[in-house]
């Protein structure tokens, strides 16, 4: 489904990603872990098409298409979804109006008729239940004045509404208490199928008890320096990142 080859990216001339290779197949869950500043969010942003980042080398193929050639909106329409580490507050744009516009633009790209108000509302109701999000929250401006947890929950709600093929969750678990974490994970697990894939970017092993990954990768200094199964996450939880840093820095210095 997704094939990343030798991906290099920089921002304002300074390199952040230094040759990422990653293959993801339909039905898989990949966790990406790594210390702060290692480039996890950068990778997520580059995949979603944020323009500040310049891809200097490498390629990303998503379902046979050159992803890097597409605009951010076309990537979303092709089925890529990024749950933001820091969702943006947009005063004056209602959550409902925003989602309806998004869904109908995605549908129109795929040659489907727009959802009418009734169908849209019943879809909203169904997905709201899934992530246990309050109607009141959605009648407000998008993310405006939401708590950290409410924002994260809203990201998963949007994911549920848009039913993406590839979901990238960028530290969706950070700042969540155990109840919110359970709700968010249930939502993600519920949306999992043999046809879609998930990249879970996280700091904490805790999330991986709920969303069980098929593979765990460690990103450090813009490279995947170690890959393994979920046992690797447990090892990291126990030992921290220092041993990995030493391994990498020891051989490169």
């Amino acid at each position: 489904m997704l094939s990343i080859k030798n991906l290099h990216a920089s921002i304002e001339g300074s390199p952040i990603l230094n040759g990422i290779n990653l293959e993801i197949k339909a039905g898989e869950v990949h966790a990406i872990m790594g210390p702060n500043g290692s480039g996890k969010s950068t990778l997520a942003s580059v995949l979603a098409g944020r323009e500040e980042y310049e891809v200097t080398q490498g390629e990303v193929i998503f379902q046979g298409k050159d992803l890097l050639e597409l605009s951010p909106e076309d990537r979303a329409r092709e089925g890529v979804f990024l749950a933001f580490q820091y969702p943006v507050e947009i005063p004056g744009v209602s959550s409902t109006n925003f989602l309806r516009t998004a869904i109908n633009q995605v549908r129109s790209y795929r040659g489907q008729d727009p959802l009418d108000a009734v169908k849209f509302l019943s879809l909203m109701k169904e997905k709201m239940k899934l992530v246990e999000i309050d109607q009141k929250l959605l009648s407000r401006s998008l993310n405006e004045g939401f708590s950290g947890g409410e924002k994260k929950r809203n990201e998963i709600f949007q994911m549920a509404m848009l039913e993406p093929t590839l979901s990238i969750l960028d530290e969706t678990d950070s700042g969540l208490d155990i109840d919110a974490l359970r709700v968010v994970s249930n939502g993600v697990n519920h949306l999992k199928s043999k046809d879609n894939a998930t990249i879970v970017v996280t700091h904490y092993q805790r999330l991986l008890d709920y969303i069980v990954p098929d593979y765990v990768h460690v990103l450090y200094k813009g490279r995947i320096v170690k890959s393994g199964t979920k046992d690797l996450a447990l090892e990291l939880e126990e030992k921290g990142y220092d041993w990995i840093k030493e391994e990498v820095d020891g051989t490169t210095v």
């Binding site: 605009s71 943006v88 947009i90 004056g92 998004a102 790209y109 848009l162």
Partner: protein
């Protein structure tokens, strides 16, 4: 007697007047001339220079031939309103549909028969010029305890083929407990340059509620100065709303005198500009009595090489305790060549006052753009959503739905987007 004028433009104006009907205004104009950019109040708006370069015929424009189509063409979809037609500033009764009761309208020849004066003209030579120039002013009186059942739509038709100066003059008085909404729209009938120098004076009686909404969407050649003064009495409310979209150079002076305790003065403005349009909003609210509120919100979206100017003066006099004064000016620049100059000016002598103000000027929020795009919303649509959200809280103050929808349509048109 010979007098020396400060600039030859005022001389051109005076030479074209059929008679001098107000000595005080004449002396003021002779003494001060029309403002150059050396005048602090006109620092960013070289309107006198603009008049000098674009206007060739300083006579008052003679009334145009208005057809029924002109009137129906100016109608707003779904709007139920009385119609007051101004033809180059002069009342056109034939094309007007006015309330049959609770509404008196008279023509005023000069300031000796003026119903009232809200302000001293000594600090504004454009107002003095208007007082010398208007051909027939209009005085509207809404008697006490009258609530107009429909808004009054003022259609301000401009045609400047013979004479390029238009000087409308309107007085509106709402006596005690009166309620009325005025809507105004200026229509340029041709593309000749003109100088529209209007003056509106409003007296809001105690416990009255008057609102005046305007749309400035004129030809690209239009030069306008508008002097708008309202005296607001005890427990009364007055609202001014101005939507500025197109013109060459527009200067709006809005002054609210909050003269009675417990009154509310609102000033709302939205300027959405492209091309080289220049719009300057100077506002002034004067709190002289206790327990009054003023709410001021002006927002601008500026594209191409357009220019916006905002200056907001708030005075809170010593007796005006328990004043709430709110002022906000926010701008979004869509192009590198667009500029905004914004300046709040607060002078507060009372001590028990709640006063807040803020100005911002920035670009469209890139983070928000990316967030919307990352959900599949196209760039154009995302931009439109954000801009409309930005303008929305000004538009929301319009109480007449059909007029509000019309403003929204015009905004879409100006921004070249569909929401």
């Amino acid at each position: 007697m010979t007098t020396i004028l400060k600039d030859n433009i005022s001389e051109n104006f005076l030479a074209a007047l059929p008679s001098i009907k107000d000595d005080k205004a004449l002396n003021l104009l002779k003494d001060q001339g029309l403002p150059s950019t050396k005048n602090e109040e006109y620092k960013y708006t070289a309107i006198t220079k603009k008049i000098a370069s674009d206007i060739t015929d300083f006579h008052q424009a003679s009334p145009a031939l208005l057809s029924d189509q002109d009137i129906s063409g100016a109608a707003i979809d779904g709007l139920e309103a009385y119609i007051l037609v101004l033809n180059n500033g002069i009342l056109d009764l034939k094309h007007s549909t006015l309330p049959v009761s609770g509404f008196a309208i008279t023509e005023i020849a000069d300031s000796t028969t003026a119903p009232f004066h809200t302000d001293d003209i000594t600090n504004d030579s454009f107002m003095a010029l208007n007082r010398l120039s208007y051909l027939k002013g209009i005085s509207i009186h809404i008697p006490r305890n009258t609530v107009l059942d429909k808004p009054v739509m003022v259609l301000n038709f401009i045609q400047s083929t013979a004479g390029q100066i238009i000087s409308p003059k309107i007085w509106i008085e709402g006596a005690e407990n009166a309620e009325a909404i005025f809507l105004e729209k200026t229509i340029s009938l041709d593309k000749n340059p003109y100088f529209l120098n209007g003056s509106i004076e409003v007296k809001v009686g105690s416990n009255s509620h008057l609102h005046y909404y305007r749309i400035q969407n004129q030809s690209k050649q239009a030069i306008e100065v508008n002097s708008f003064h309202a005296d607001v009495s005890k427990d009364a409310t007055f609202t001014s709303f101005v939507l500025s979209l197109q013109g060459n150079m527009i200067r709006n002076n809005v002054t609210l005198n909050l003269n009675g305790s417990g009154c509310v003065g609102n000033m709302y403005g939205l300027y959405i500009l492209n091309g080289k349009t220049h719009v300057d909003n100077h506002t002034n609210v004067d709190h002289t009595q206790p327990h009054c509120d003023s709410n001021e919100l002006y927002k601008g979206i500026l594209g191409d090489s357009s220019r916006g100017v905002f200056n907001g003066k708030i005075f809170v006099r010593q007796d005006a305790q328990k004043t709430n004064a709110f002022q906000q000016n926010n701008n979004i620049l869509l192009s590198e060549d667009a500029t905004v100059n914004t300046k709040p000016q607060l002078e507060i002598w009372a001590d028990d006052v709640k006063c807040s103000h803020g100005c911002t000027t920035g670009q469209l929020d890139e983070e928000a753009m990316f967030y919307l795009q990352a959900r599949g919303i196209g760039k154009e649509q995302a931009r439109a959503l954000l801009l409309f959200a930005f303008a929305g809280d000004v538009i929301d103050h319009i109480k007449v739905d059909a007029f509000k929808d019309y403003c929204i349509d015009l905004i879409h048109e100006t921004l070249g987007t569909n929401f």
